[in-house]
């Protein structure tokens, strides 16, 4: 092992000539991520300079400055929405106009016709229709005046807007009809439990049910005359008691729900049993609690099979089952989950691994990008559990007001236990999304270190990409077999400089929503590092820091570690739909959703690029790219009744 001391000058990070034409350091060879033999470093330096000269085009590299990255990560730690103006001198205060803003509207993600949306509510399948309810402000493109929006679909993709399901018209929900969940009773009828903000701003739980069960559209909802059915118990703040779950059956045949709250800074989930959804019995014990995680919103609780890939109805329990608790952390706006064991008799749950308990910062997340207040439901029609998640905006409210809308929902994702690792869930866009796939093109490309190649797919604003990457074996062996190379410094997508910082084995992946000159681009990539144990460790990231020239947009670098098992190829899927990019690493073990707002890479100017920004590795990419159709989401009309499916 070479002494670290002699290699010290070589340990700092190297910037990428391909991405950054304004490199300030004239000595590229002094900027390597990892310690390596000097002669190799110098050689690479020459190579890089050559690349720099031949490949650098005229684009204006606007890599975020270090200061910006630091500010951002601090903000992230503080758990803020990250809204702030970029201090990057090269970005501009952007005069958004309607041409630019119209492009941002999605083509096949669910979003209301206009105005503000947040949490998904009460998803369910009934008499041939998927129902989706959502927190909606009918009056503005910012949060406020919340009602329940309602839409139906035959396939979870082609949605039809229906009239509001519920509005604030009672003292117990006068200040808002907030988030809730649906439960199917044994006789096939439906109950909806939701949070109301009362005329005195107290959070209470209310019961509602469809007025007419013979109506497959469930247009009319009745609120129970005895509402509220639950008020904040002693010791719980009047404004810390919201978002009841779907109920599940206890072994004694009662129904059980959980509701998130907090005591001081401890996030908790309260448990209640009921037989009629009108009166409840509170458990003295909590389903779970984790200190220093703050208020738990939108708690979700459900079983997953340890061995099978189908979803489980919420009441299923048994030796083959693990239970998931998900909570949306009010403090950080992150949806955290953990895998554990549920004890039906005392209504408690314990995590498999205390170190990654619910809401712990190193714990598991459904999505490492912009994704919050999610909710699952069991689709009895196709025997699967499906996840919805609210994807907010990363632009300014002035832009939201100007474009007249704010927020989309993710493409619904099936959610199952990763039976291969046993340590995480796997999320994957529902199969039905593939019905939007139009023409496709297949590619196999070998890309050497420091290469960026355009992928000829035509317009690139509505795409579905599935790709497989292999690193050249010799290159891998050089890295793994070379004892003189120390382990990489601890890498993280957020704090290691993004896609412009090069390592031996990464980054490589796609730049989506790029313009021809690469002045705007959003790279989605793998980054493989050599861990302390000399094993490879893979990260999956999305870098939005150069996604737009505009400066009134938050442009984080997102991502996380992704488990890669022996013999597996690196795989990613990317769904691009105008201002939203959903990325899935290793079949959905790590997911990253981001919002991007290009100013040049729009309409016909959107391009797709494949890149390999590794220093040492040659990568082969086999991939398929589909153009995606629009879902033509529109208001329900009588014509829609006769059409069983639009697909």
């Amino acid at each position: 092992m070479a002494s670290t001391e002699s290699l010290l000058p070589l340990t700092s990070q190297q910037q990428d000539p391909l991405f950054d034409s304004s490199r300030s350091d004239p000595n590229p060879e002094t900027h390597r991520r990892r310690p390596i033999k000097v002669h190799l470093a110098v050689y690479s330096g020459f190579l890089l300079i050559a690349l720099y000269v031949t490949l650098i085009v005229t684009h204006d590299g606007s890599r975020a400055k270090n200061g910006e990255t630091t500010t951002e990560s601090r903000a992230r730690l503080a758990g803020v929405s990250e809204k702030r103006v970029s201090d990057d001198q090269k970005s501009e205060a952007f005069p958004w106009n309607n041409t630019l803003l119209s492009w941002q509207r999605t083509a096949f993600h669910f979003q209301p016709e206009n105005n503000w949306m947040n949490d998904p509510n009460g998803p369910l399948f009934y008499k041939g229709w998927y129902h989706f309810f959502y927190q909606y402000n009918p009056n503005a493109a910012v949060w406020g005046d919340i009602v329940w929006g309602h839409a139906v679909s035959k396939d979870l993709i082609h949605w039809l807007y229906l009239p509001f399901a519920m509005v604030p018209d009672q003292w117990y929900d006068a200040n808002g009809v907030w988030t809730g969940s649906a439960t199917f009773l044994d006789d096939g009828s439906i109950v909806m439990l939701y949070t109301g903000s009362t005329d005195k701003f107290v959070q209470v739980q209310n019961l509602a049910y469809p007025e007419d069960l013979s109506d497959p559209l469930l247009l009319k909802w009745a609120k129970y005359s005895g509402n509220p059915v639950l008020v904040p118990p002693p010791g719980i703040g009047a404004k810390d008691f919201r978002d009841p779950t779907t109920a599940w059956k206890t072994s004694a045949g009662k129904w059980r729900i959980t509701i998130g709250s907090k005591v001081n800074k401890t996030g908790i989930s309260l448990v209640y049993d009921t037989t009629d959804f009108k009166t409840y019995e509170k458990h003295e014990t909590l389903l779970h609690q984790v200190p220093n995680t703050g208020m738990w919103e939108c708690v979700d609780f459900y079983p997953v099979s340890k061995t099978k890939t189908n979803g489980l109805d919420t009441s299923v329990n048994g030796p083959d089952v693990k239970h998931i608790i998900k909570a949306s952390m009010d403090d950080t706006r992150i949806d955290h989950y953990a895998i554990g064991t549920y004890d039906d008799s005392n209504a408690t749950w314990v995590p498999d691994n205390l170190a990654i308990d619910v809401g712990v910062s190193t714990g598991l997340r459904y999505d490492y990008g912009k994704f919050y207040a999610s909710k699952t439901f069991y689709d009895q029609h196709k025997k699967r559990r499906i996840l919805w998640g609210w994807i907010g905006e990363s632009d300014s409210e002035a832009a939201d007001v100007q474009k007249g809308w704010s927020s989309v929902q993710c493409i619904p994702r099936t959610i199952v236990m990763d039976t291969k690792t046993g340590k995480n869930l796997v999320l994957w866009p529902i199969k039905e999304i593939e019905s939007l796939r139009l023409s496709s093109k297949k590619f196999q490309m070998k890309v050497g270190p420091g290469t960026m190649v355009p992928v000829d797919v035509g317009p690139a604003a509505q795409l579905d990409i599935e790709a497989e990457f292999t690193i050249k074996k010799d290159d891998l062996q050089i890295i793994l077999g070379d004892d003189s190379m120390d382990a990489d410094k601890e890498f993280s997508c957020e704090n290691s400089g993004g896609s412009t910082v090069r390592g031996a084995l990464g980054p490589f992946g796609f730049s989506v929503l790029a313009d021809q000159s690469l002045s705007e681009q959003t790279p989605v990539y793998f980054y493989v590092t050599k861990g302390k144990d000399s094993k490879l460790k893979t990260f999956f990231c999305t870098d939005t820091s150069r996604s737009t020239k505009a400066n009134d947009v938050v442009k984080p670098i997102y991502g996380s570690f992704v488990p890669v098992l022996k013999g597996e190829k690196l795989t990613m899927r990317i769904i691009v739909d105008h201002s939203i990019v959903e990325a899935f690493g290793q079949g959905g073990r790590t997911c990253i959703t981001s919002r991007v707002y290009p100013t040049k890479a729009i309409y016909g100017a959107t391009k797709l690029f494949l890149f390999n920004n590794a220093i040492d590795a040659t990568v082969t990419a086999s991939f398929k790219v589909w153009q995606m159709n629009s879902a033509f989401i529109h208001a329900f009309s009588a014509d829609d009744l006769g059409v069983p499916s639009r697909t």
């Binding site: 503080a78 803020v80 929405s81 809204k83 702030r84 103006v85 501009e92 205060a93 952007f94 005069p95 503005a140 493109a141 910012v142 949060w143 406020g144 005046d145 200040n175 808002g176 903000s197 701003f201 959070q203 009047a238 404004k239 703050g294 208020m295 009010d330 403090d331 706006r333 300014s396 409210e397 002035a398 939201d400 007001v401 100007q402 400066n551 009134d552």
Partner: protein
């Protein structure tokens, strides 16, 4: 209460002076203090809009940037402030934080539109500071 709360913000002096200048300050709880500061954001936005209107007449060469600023400050008044007040009143500080942070974002975006020759710099800085102080207090409510 004011002193204790302001110690947790990035600008103690500004925080104390703003809150002491309001008669409600001495008896307000944390949420009440945040509401007072949101009012200050509103007052400052109105003041800045008036300034922008005045500049429109005497600085025609800045017409474009001033127009953008006008739209951004109107967003503060018509979107950020009402959103923050409703969210604080109803006890959903998360959305109050959105509005309050955005007030600072809009001010900064306005400022940059002048490409270094802003006639509004001191007003921008005031908005940025009030925004960050208010946000710190809003976060105490989470």
């Amino acid at each position: 209460m004011i002193d204790r709360t302001c110690k947790e913000t990035p600008d103690f002096n500004l925080c104390v002076s703003l809150l002491n200048s309001d008669p409600r300050g001495s008896s307000a709880d944390t949420s009440g203090l945040a509401l007072i500061l949101v009012d200050k954001i509103k007052v400052l936005a109105i003041k800045t809009l008036n300034e922008i209107n005045g500049l429109h007449k005497i600085r025609p060469e800045l017409k474009h940037a001033l127009g953008e600023c006008s739209r951004k400050y109107k967003t503060i008044l018509q979107a950020d402030v009402p959103e923050a007040i409703e969210a604080l009143t109803k006890g959903v500080p998360k959305f109050a934080e959105d509005g309050v942070i955005d007030a600072g974002v809009e001010a900064s975006a306005c400022e940059e539109g002048f490409k270094g020759k802003s006639p509004l710099t001191s007003l921008t800085k005031s908005m940025q500071k009030i925004s960050s102080v208010t946000r710190a207090i809003v976060r105490m409510l989470l």
